[in-house]
């Protein structure tokens, strides 16, 4: 099963490598990992997307909690939550492709944020599957370059990860 785990941790040097090291040492999967400081600069918040049986994910949460720098851990997939990912796609935009690319970006509520005479860069946010769907809608030959952030997640409504 796919799980999204949120980790609130001390914004200390080396904290990220402790988490990454834990996953590799214990053989856990990481599909994506995003991290940045929170509104409180002493804390970082990480979103980890992982796959595993319930037993494995239970161990992952326990092992994360055991890290001395980790303040709180929440498996977002235990309740209602929202996830978003940002993608930048550079596409070929010459001739009639120019119009088609703009139309496709509009349909997916993407924004063209860089324009040259040969290419557009489109910014798109959404769930991972929406981003996948956009890429599938494009002619593979038109895709020049892509970059994705990996998912960031947050609980809905009253569900919060705070200290």
């Amino acid at each position: 099963m796919r799980h999204i785990i949120s980790v609130l941790m001390e914004n200390e040097a080396g904290a990220l490598s402790r988490v990454a090291g834990l996953f590799s040492a214990r053989g856990y999967n990481i599909e994506s990992l995003t991290v940045a400081p929170t509104e409180d600069a002493t804390l970082s918040r990480m979103t980890i997307v992982t796959y595993g049986s319930n037993d494995v994910v239970e161990q992952i949460t326990k092992q994360l909690n055991k890290l001395v720098d980790v303040v709180k851990v929440q498996d977002l997939t235990d309740g209602s939550h929202i996830e978003r990912e940002l993608m930048l796609v550079k596409v070929r935009a010459t001739g009639e492709l120019r119009e088609e690319m703009k139309r496709l970006a509009d349909i997916f509520r993407g924004r063209i944020i860089d324009v040259t005479d040969k290419a557009y860069t489109i910014e798109l946010t959404g769930t991972g599957s929406k981003l996948d769907a956009f890429l599938e809608a494009l002619d593979p030959a038109a895709i020049l370059e892509t970059v994705r952030t990996g998912a960031s997640g947050i609980g809905r409504g009253e569900r919060m990860l705070k200290i």
């Binding site: 941790m9 001390e10 040097a13 080396g14 490598s17 402790r18 090291g21 040492a25 037993d55 239970e58 161990q59 326990k62 092992q63 909690n65 055991k66 001395v68 720098d69 980790v70 303040v71 200290i163």
Partner: protein, 569 residues
């Protein structure tokens, strides 16, 4: 009055004084010279110069195992730190509280591939409870405070504090905090009341109960509570290698060690019980073998552990209780004594009758009439001669298992060995750490001729400090445990397990200034031991017992098999 500024090196010393440190085990080098200069000027603790950083860390680890206090080691950057890694990993696997201070190249040189630079924090990360790189002298005191706090609390473990050389030169005002609290680190000690009630009820209803004790009972100082609780109910007790001594081995309720080389009765009871109480134990592969085979039997499991991640890691448990083992067992005792309910007598009697049948197998029997010295006999005699009162360290191999099986530990913290990492070479440095902790105690190091050579240089440290350790070498001429596996599982192809060209251990001991004796006949075993602990009481004595090279450790459960697939003698 303006506070006096101290250098980082002075601060390190002041912190160690404030922590009440008695011994620092270490080895100097460039990056820690400022600290050593301050050690020279102080008298608060004694520095013990080992002959190898690995041994310094093992000695600090053993000091912690024998006392329950935090062990302290100090090494230089680069090779000092890498030599220390085996010692750190050994302590980590057995959850030993330890602070290891490592020197580092000056901060501006970090990342430049400077002379004697390694990424110590990176190298040690997977084998420490936590580690720190101190980049600013102003953070030094608080960091050391945190290091001791983290090492000693919750599930204990080693903490590394890496200090760049320039930080030991920089100055700042010194203040050592009385206490420290960390929002990200709050171990749980008090067990959940509802879970404790459920557990007690389950235990009282048990028909075939077993108490399975691990190293956590020793580390958590839960021996008294454990004895009280087990005797109140009259339930059988078994222990892992690391838990030995938490429950007195000579007691009739004790079934001996369980696991790969555990007794028949202990493993059969584990396999056939209906309620299992695990106390500070982690169901590891050397204990329960294959978890699939173990889980097959219907039984309910109660697990007390201070580390939530140890619970339901390898085996699903029914009643998890996260907390301090001593506190939780105390609570168990209170509830049981406070209530009227007692276990069903007939069922318990029948269970004990079954256990006695298993016990009657006498699985630890061996040939007592043999012409060669049997290693088991040496350990039995050691137990007799020391009246069961010695601290016993061991290395790793067959001798370790015989020590565990035949020396009946009746107190906790008396059996000092590397269970988790299984590090050959710990025996002698462990004996040093124990002897420093308990100068008057009898300390015996049971070892093999392979293992003892992995830290033999420490005979020099022992001489310098006049440590009256008794080395009990069970010399079978082989890397015995390897030989045993090759005999059983590799059709007797003894690849590289015969150790040729052994030194003359007696002359070797004498060269370092100690006494030595080679013993070749069974009838000479006891007199040699009596001499070592009598006439040579105050000396280090190296007893080289030439033992039967073909002897194997029984019983044995082959790796990956279930508890009932035991090979008996």
């Amino acid at each position: 009055m303006a506070e006096m500024e101290l250098t980082g090196a002075e601060i390190v010393i002041r912190c160690l004084h404030a922590e009440g440190v008695e011994y620092v085990f270490g080895y100097p080098g460039g990056a820690v010279l400022n600290i050593y200069d301050e050690i020279y000027k102080q008298e608060g603790f004694k520095h013990i110069l080992a002959r190898h950083e690995q041994a310094a860390v093992h000695a600090a680890d053993a000091y912690a195992r024998a006392t329950g206090r935090v062990g302290v080691a100090l090494v230089t950057s680069g090779p000092g730190a890498t030599n220390a890694v085996t010692g750190i990993a050994t302590a980590y696997m057995d959850s030993i509280p330890m602070v290891v201070i490592t020197g580092q190249v000056p901060t501006p040189a970090i990342g430049q591939d400077a002379f004697q630079e390694v990424d110590t924090v990176g190298i040690t990360r997977p084998c420490v409870k936590h580690n720190f790189l101190v980049k600013d002298v102003k953070e030094l005191a608080l960091t050391i405070k945190k290091a001791f706090y983290i090492a000693a609390t919750g599930r204990p473990g080693p903490v590394v504090v890496d200090i760049p050389k320039d930080v030991t030169q920089h100055t700042c005002a010194f203040e050592y905090p009385d206490s420290v609290s960390m929002r990200s680190y709050n171990p749980t000690y008090k067990g959940h009341a509802g879970q404790i009630k459920r557990a007690v009820q389950m235990l009282l209803e048990a028909k075939r109960p077993v108490i399975y004790v691990g190293g956590g009972a020793v580390l958590g100082n839960a021996s008294a509570q454990l004895i009280d609780f087990a005797r109140e109910l009259g339930y059988p007790v078994t222990s892992t290698l690391m838990g030995l001594g938490a429950y007195p081995a000579p007691d009739p309720l004790f079934l001996g060690m369980l696991g790969m080389h555990g007794t028949y009765e202990a493993n059969m009871a584990m396999q056939h019980c209906d309620v299992l109480l695990a106390v500070g134990a982690r169901f590891d592969d050397r204990v329960i073998g294959n978890p699939k085979h173990f889980a097959r039997e219907a039984r309910r499991i109660i697990h007390i552990d201070v580390d939530p991640s140890s619970i339901s890691k390898r085996v699903k448990v029914d009643v998890p209780i996260v907390g301090d083992v001593a506190q939780v067992l105390d609570e168990f005792g209170r509830l049981i004594k406070g209530g009227a309910e007692r276990p069903e007598e007939a069922a318990l009697k029948a269970w004990w009758a079954q256990i006695e049948l298993w016990r009657a197998q006498d699985c630890l029997k061996y040939d007592r009439g043999a012409a060669a010295i049997k290693p088991q006999y040496v350990v039995e005699k050691l137990y007799e001669v020391t009246g069961g009162e010695a601290f016993v360290t061991s290395d790793v191999g067959q001798h370790q298992m015989w020590a565990a099986q035949y020396y009946q530990f009746n107190k906790p913290r008396r059996w000092i060995n590397s269970g988790g990492l299984g590090t050959m070479g710990v025996g002698l440095p462990y004996a040093m750490g124990v002897q420093f902790a308990h100068p008057e105690a009898m300390v015996a190091c049971i070892t093999g001729e392979g293992s003892i050579q992995m830290n033999i240089q420490e005979l020099s440290t022992c001489k310098e400090n006049r440590l009256p350790i008794k080395i009990i070498l069970l010399n079978n001429g082989y890397l015995g445990m390897v030989r045993q596996w090759q005999e059983f599982f590799y059709e007797e192809r003894y690849a590289e397990s015969y150790v040729a060209s052994l030194p003359d251990f007696v002359k070797l001991a004498q060269a370092y200034g100690h006494e030595g004796l080679t013993i070749e006949k069974p009838e000479d075993v006891e007199p040699a031991l009596r001499r070592a602990f009598g006439e040579w009481k105050d000396k280090l004595v190296f007893l080289n017992f030439i033992t039967d090279p073909r002897e194997n450790v029984y019983p044995m459960i082959p790796a990956g098999k279930g508890l009932s697939e035991m090979i008996l003698v």
